[in-house]
Every structure is written in structure tokens, then in C-alpha cells.
Symmetry: C3
Subunit: 350 residues, 3 copies
């Protein structure tokens, strides 16, 4: 959905819109963004990561966005600002606007007569929209999406193709759902009785706040009794699993392949690394950072960084160390025995 | 697919249908289930977890379901029974029946002329059903599902929207498949030859037993030569990967994001925690429990609980400990050396 | 898509096509492949894994494929060759040819007028193909796939049902994409500004080389600025996540549920075990093997095998050992103290 006819902008225009300090010709024409390494004429690049600092000299960009400390490392026309990456995000959004919404319904869409779809919403080919569902202004529903009954989609929502939203779900405004996302499937709830699993009806909803983005093939289950809630501004990467009755606090960002088990509450402004997991019924404080591939098994009350990763090694060295790991309790006991023996010896001597 | 017009039931009716001991007014009217914490008039709640015991006093539920030990902690009308959660599951199923199947085929469904679809089955909008496929009585196929050729779907099956079933798969009766599920895709089978991968045709089937439920975006591959089999009553959560030629024993329950590698056989009544993995060609006994985020690398012959989780810590403490982990073999050798030195000393002394 | 009318072939035909040494009647008729254990009349089986050697005696196969070392263990008609599994792959491909492509477009497909679809390509029911997209000769697009605009699909591509390809993606020839695959969704790129996440437009492409196969529900994100690249011959299993700007070298094979974080470059001929992860901005050499469930957190410069798995145990023994793991730094310090104490003692004595 990126528009292809990019017009040019000038460095001066960026300066007027987004601030910073402009050094060099304000009429410098910019048509696209690029990396320092591969930039060419007409492109603007940025330096936000020390590791690419050496590329600043050789870049063929027309202009660059840099921090104060790198300002004198280049003679190119440039914007100097406190956060070059955020500045770049704004410039890139200006240079790469979304295609405008094509208001209207594709004739192959199957929309229930009771659904209320804004006249300026865009409904793609072969979309299905169920009874009593509401689609807000300027929202766009990609081809092949299936939206159940009694769903509410806010304004300026973007559903990429082949998204599924179950009955009764609520999706806030400016939400982006990528392909393969499933919102509101049943949570994993069973009682055991006479060695058979009884399904517990999952009657809560999945409620997605404003300004949430959810990556491809991520699943957010509906609540068992009450709702599963993703608060505003949360960003979820691909292939994440959010179980029933989880609540994710506002502006938390979660990397790919994470699993959050049922009824766990996660704070605001957390950052959770890829492939990590959080077991059920826990509470995680605000501003907690969790490393990749870490399993959190207890509630966390204090902000800070938490890790539980087995350090990798060559297979050969790992074998040596892992073998010991199975005897760690024993090793500790042996050390304790040595300490006591020495203490006794020393006692005898004194 | 939850019906919206809930009629009321009485506590006496629950007692007559499901047993237990009824204390209080049998005419107490119940219209919905709720949690103890958020229950209001007309709702029935349950206590099955010690952690919520303190909520029993303050609940505003009309009635509660409790165990014998909590019976005297409340004056509310109540059902006393040995397993409040299973009782609750039955009550909730009564209060929240599925919408009845809407027999018939949506006009936008594309059904091969040779397919045999029961007259009382429900085929949603934009469904595709291939050659010679059979859909059993009262089954419902959600919008956007694609069912290949030569597939057999049993009776009372529910396919939520956007499920894919490959050619030749077999799905038992009363199976529930959630959105994004893929049944019968090719297993990961290649032979290497002259530094190129040769694809090995995957000609087995995926066979799903009766009463299985499979969560959103879970994948069950077809067999390489023989079949992949999910036995009756198995419950799979979301985003699980079942490789070719796996067999999962009856009534086993697997939490989200688990991966089971090829040709592994899992017993009956196992419980496998989220994000855990089992490598290929293993055999796991009946009634094995595996913790979350654990990798099983050897066959397990005895029932019991198995775990392999790196305990998380603050990043700072983890760094200290993990650094040692890389030298664990060395540390053990040093302890051994100390023991020998002391033994020698003591030998000399005696 | 496996053809059902299998004609018979003879052992002599395999010999003429694929070489090896033929022992026994070359007119032995073969109609299908089977495992040693379950083979019956007309079937050919193979022995490639020591663990199944004992099955060779009892097999009821009509013929077998074996290595030189097992040649004398059976009296059956047989092919003797250096790599029985690769030979078997060729035989099975001959016996199980794909159904021929059904050239043409299903009437329910929604194909933009500007798309260029080869006349001998097969476009399934309810497929959507966007503006300016090109579909190469003999490619087949399964039912329910959504292909965006400006996409290029090569020749002899197979898209199974319900695949999604975002705008601008490039897919090479002979690529196979399984159901639920999402190619080209936005990478996870945000800048933080005033405690709000700013989306960074993801304007690179996802580029998939020739002869790649991608398993069900795997996701390959588009690049942030430049492209995400999967080189030729790569094999990806199910539910893998490839983040933006990753490059995967030719002929690398990755098992299910792996996550590769942004901008990481992986070499050629690597083999990556299931459920493992690689963090961002790393470089992995050619011919690296990574064990299942391992997190790689640093670049790897040398070929070889790398592992970082916590060994599982009974839950009881795990508790004992894991408790010590939290005090490993302390344990090492205690050993150091003991060593110094003994050194001092010994110093005093001498």
C-alpha cells in the first residue's frame, strides 16, 4: 500500500515540519530514503547506530540526518537533531505515504445487510462481513478478510488481506492488523471430568485498543469469561500468541514468536524480546524489559531487565558443561563438604 | 457463534441436570456466568482456585459453585460439588449454547459437483470444497475455508473461517478447527544430493480423530509415507507445529507454541506446557507432563513431570551466573582436584 | 496435488534412470513406496537409518533400496547405491508425480486487468491478483490466495491455498509456498518519541529466490529500507519468522518454529534446528549447524555445530539443580576461596 509516484521534497521542508538544525542548502531535493551504505542521488540517510558511523564519510546521500555528536563528521547538507531515528521515521512517512483509501466495496465482497460500513471505507475483494458489524470511517479491509458478527472496527483501521476477526471482537481506531492475524478465537479452556476434557465456553471478547499494530499470523484469543485486552499503542510483532484474559499495558512492544499464557497482566511500556514466554496468572510491572528466549515464571514487581537464556557454545563445549549441569546440586554439596572439612581442620589447628 | 438471546435457568435446574448438593433457593434465577470478582445480579460464579478464595465473601453473584471445603464460607445460594470447575463448564455450556447450524450453502461457496455435503451442513460464504470431498451431517464450514479434494469431514465438525485442509486429509466428528489452522501441508522432507535438496514426496495423510480441538494458526503436517495421527479427544492450543508422522495419543493436551518434530510418538493423557519442544523419532509415555519452554531430547518411559527451563533472573545476576555456566566443566574439575588434594593430605596425616 | 492413478514402473527402469547396482529381477513391478515395516506387494522400501536395519529381514516389500553395507542382508530384488535416501527421493518423485497444472482461471478469481498471468498458469477459485502483477508459466495459485500489486511470481511456482503475498514482493521460479504463508508483511520497525511509537515505513521488498520451499504459516517480512532476501534453494519449515532485512544464504535448511531477528545474515548450507532463534544484526558463517531450541546471540565465524539447550530432567531433579544455577557465581567464588586457602596452607607447610 505504498504509493509509487513519490514527488520530491526539500530539506528546508523537513526543517519547517519537524524542526532540528539545518546545515547546508535548504533547497536540496530529496525523493527517497536510503541507508548510508547504499544511498544515491536524491536520497536522505540517517546515522542512529554507532556501528554505522564509519559509513558517514563515504555515503553518496544527498543529505543526512545526524545527532549533534556526528554533525562535524560530514560536509553534506544535513539535519542535526537529538533523535535521528525518530526524525527519519517522520521524513520517511512523508516520503512514503500510504495509498489513499479507495472508498467503496468490491462487488465480490459479501457484506451482511445489517452491517454498518462507513461510506468512505474500502472493502476489498472477497471480504466477508457479518451481522451487525460496524466498520468505521476510512477503514480499509483487505481482500479475503473474514469479519464475524457484532464486531466493531474503529476509524482508519487497516486490515491487510486474509485477517480473521471472530464474532463480538472490538478493534480500536488506527489499528493495523497484518495478514493471517486471528482475533478472538477461543481460549484454551477445558475442565477434566472422567478422563475427558469438557470445553469451557469462551464468552469474553478480544478488545484491541487504538493505535495498536499486530504482525502477521499473530493470534489474540477472546476471554474465557471477561475480556482479553490489548491497550492503546501496543505493538505486537509476527507469530505472537496472546492467551485468554491477558491484558497488555499501553505502549508495550513485543517481538516475534512470544507466548503469553492466560490471565497474565503486563504493564505499560514493557519491551519483550522475541521467543520469550510468560506463564499464566502473573503480573509484570511497567517498564520491564525481558530478553529474547527467556521464560518468566514469577510475577515481576520492579522495572528493569530480566534474562534467562542458556548461553550457546560449540556443541562440544556445551556437552561438557551441560553434563555438569545435571549434577549441580551434587557439586554444590561437595563444595559444602570441602568447606566444612577445611573449617574442621582449621579448628583443630587453632 | 455464541447465541445472544440467553434465557434464564434456575439453580434447581442445574441440580437436576448435573447433580451436586443444592443449598439455598432452587428457584434462584441465573442468566449468565461470571467471575467471583465481577459477578452481578443473575450471575453464577465458581471457586476452583485457592487464590480467589478471598473473593467469595464479597461477590455479588446470585449463586456460586463451590467445593465441600468452601461450602460454609458463603451464605449465597450454592451448588456444592467435588469439582466446581467441571460443574461450571457444564453450567456455562447450558447458558451459552452454540448458535444452531444454519443448514445450507452460501451462494458464493465454490463446491465441486462431486463433493458430498450433508444437506443439514452449513457452508459459509466464499468456501471452496474440492473433488470427492465429504462433509458430514450438521457440520459447519466457516467463510473462506478451503477444503481440498478427497477430504473426509465427520459429523458436527466446526471449521472457523479461513481454515485450510489439504487433499486427502481425514477429520473426525465433533472436531473444532480454529481460524488459520492448516491440516495436511507437506512435511519437511528432503534428501541432499550433490549439495542440492531433493524434495521427498509427502504422500501420507493427516488424520484427526473425533472430539479434537485445534487452536488458531496451528499446523498439522501430512505424513511422509504413512499418516500423521492426532487421536481422539486431543486438545491443541494455538500456533502448535505437528510434524510429519507424529502420533499424539488420545486426550493429550498441548499448550500454545509447542513444536513436535517428525515421527515422535506421544502417549495418552499427556500435558505439554507452552513453547516446549520434542525432537524427532522419540517415544513419550502416557501421562507425562512437560513444563513450559522445555526441550525434550530423549524418549521418556515413565509418567511424571519433566522440566528443562533456565531460571530467569535480573539481567545483572544472570550475567554473573551465565558466565560461570560456560566454565562448569572446569569448575567441576577444580572441585575434584580439591577433593583429591584434601584426601591426600588427610591420608598423609593418618 | 498428488495424482491418484499411479501406473507401475519396474526396478530396471529405476536402474536406467537413476543408476546404482541392480540385484535381482529387473522386471519386478513397483507401484508405490512404503516403509520397510509396512510394505506390501508392489512396494519399494529403503534403508537409510541404522535404527531400522532389523526390519530389513522381515519386510514384505517387492524390492528395496540399500547401501553397499546392507546389500547382503536381504535376498529381495534391490538397488544398491551410495545414498539410499536420495535414491528413494527420486523413485518416490517418479511414482508420485504432481497432478499436471490445469491451465486456466477459475471464474471466481478476481484478477486485475493489468496483471499478466501466463496462459498456461492455473488460478484457483476465489484468488485475488492485484495490479501489474506477473504470474509465470505453468505456475499454480491455490484457492483463496491473495497476491498484491506489482508482485512477480516466476515459472512453475506452486502456491497452496490461502497464501498472502504483499505488494511488490518477488518470488522466484519453482518456489513452493504452503498455506498460511505471508510474504512481505511490514517488518517490526518503530522509533520512540515522546513515549509514543512512530511507525517507520517498511519500503524494502521480500525477495524469494528460485527453488525455495516455505512451510505452512511461515512469515517473511519485507525490508525496512532495502530488501529481505531468501536465496535460492533455501528450505523453510512451518511457522518460521524471518524479520526485515534478513538474508538467508543459498541451500540453507531451517526447521520449524525458528525466529531470525532483523538484519541478520545467515550463510549458505547452514542447518538450523527447530525452535531456535538468532538475534538481530548478526552474521552466521556458511555450513553452521545450530541445535534445536538454542538462542544465538553473537555472530559465528566458523562452520561447525553450536548448541545452547538446557538439559531436561525430572521436575524434581531439575528443581535441585536449577536452584544452584542461581548461585553459580557464588559457588565459583567459594571454590576459588577453597583453592586459595589450600594454597596458603600448603605454602605454610612447605
Amino acid at each position: 500500500m505504498i504509493s509509487s509516484d513519490q514527488k520530491f521534497h526539500t530539506l528546508g521542508e523537513f526543517f519547517r515540519r519537524f524542526g532540528g538544525k539545518l546545515i547546508g542548502n535548504p533547497d536540496t531535493r530529496i525523493t527517497r530514503v536510503a541507508t548510508l551504505e547504499n544511498a544515491g542521488p536524491g536520497s536522505i540517510a540517517f546515522l542512529a547506530n554507532e556501528r554505522y558511523r564509519h559509513q558517514l564519510q563515504a555515503t553518496r546521500a544527498a543529505a543526512v540526518i545526524v545527532g549533534e555528536d556526528a554533525s562535524e563528521l560530514t560536509g553534506l547538507p544535513r539535519i542535526v537533531c537529538p533523535d535521528p531515528y525518530a526524525y527519519f521515521a517522520r521524513v520517511s512517512s512523508l516520503l512514503n505515504p500510504l495509498c489513499p483509501t479507495q472508498a467503496g466495496r468490491q462487488p465480490t465482497a459479501v457484506i451482511d445487510a445489517s452491517a454498518v460500513v462507513a461510506s468512505d471505507a474500502e472493502v476489498g475483494a472477497l471480504v466477508v462481513i457479518g451481522k451487525n458489524t460496524v466498520v468505521g470511517a476510512r477503514s480499509r479491509i483487505g481482500a479475503g478478510c473474514v469479519i464475524g458478527r457484532d464486531v466493531v472496527l474503529g476509524e482508519d483501521v487497516v486490515l491487510h488481506p486474509n485477517v480473521t476477526v471472530y464474532d463480538g471482537s472490538v478493534v480500536g481506531s488506527r489499528v493495523i492488523l497484518h495478514s493471517g492475524v486471528v482475533i478472538g478465537a477461543d481460549g484454551f479452556g477445558y475442565a477434566i471430568s472422567d478422563e475427558r476434557w469438557l470445553k469451557v465456553p469462551q464468552i469474553g471478547r478480544a478488545v484491541i485498543g487504538d493505535d495498536v499494530e499486530i504482525g502477521a499470523n499473530t493470534t489474540v484469543d477472546r476471554g474465557a469469561i471477561e475480556d482479553t485486552v490489548i491497550e492503546e499503542g501496543v505493538k505486537l510483532d509476527n507469530q505472537i500468541q496472546i492467551a485468554h484474559n491477558v491484558r497488555i499495558g499501553a505502549h508495550t512492544a513485543i517481538a516475534a514468536c512470544v507466548g503469553i499464557a492466560g490471565s497474565t497482566k503486563i504493564g505499560r511500556y514493557c519491551r519483550i524480546g522475541g521467543m520469550s514466554g510468560i506463564t499464566g496468572h502473573l503480573t509484570i510491572a511497567d517498564r520491564v524489559e525481558i530478553s529474547a528466549h527467556t521464560l518468566i515464571t514469577k510475577s515481576i514487581e520492579k522495572p528493569g531487565a530480566y534474562t534467562g537464556v542458556y548461553p550457546f557454545n560449540t556443541n562440544r563445549e556445551w556437552r561438557t558443561n551441560a553434563a555438569q549441569l545435571r549434577h549441580l546440586g551434587e557439586l554444590a554439596a561437595r563444595v559444602r563438604a570441602l568447606e566444612q572439612m577445611l573449617k574442621k581442620q582449621n579448628g583443630r589447628k587453632s
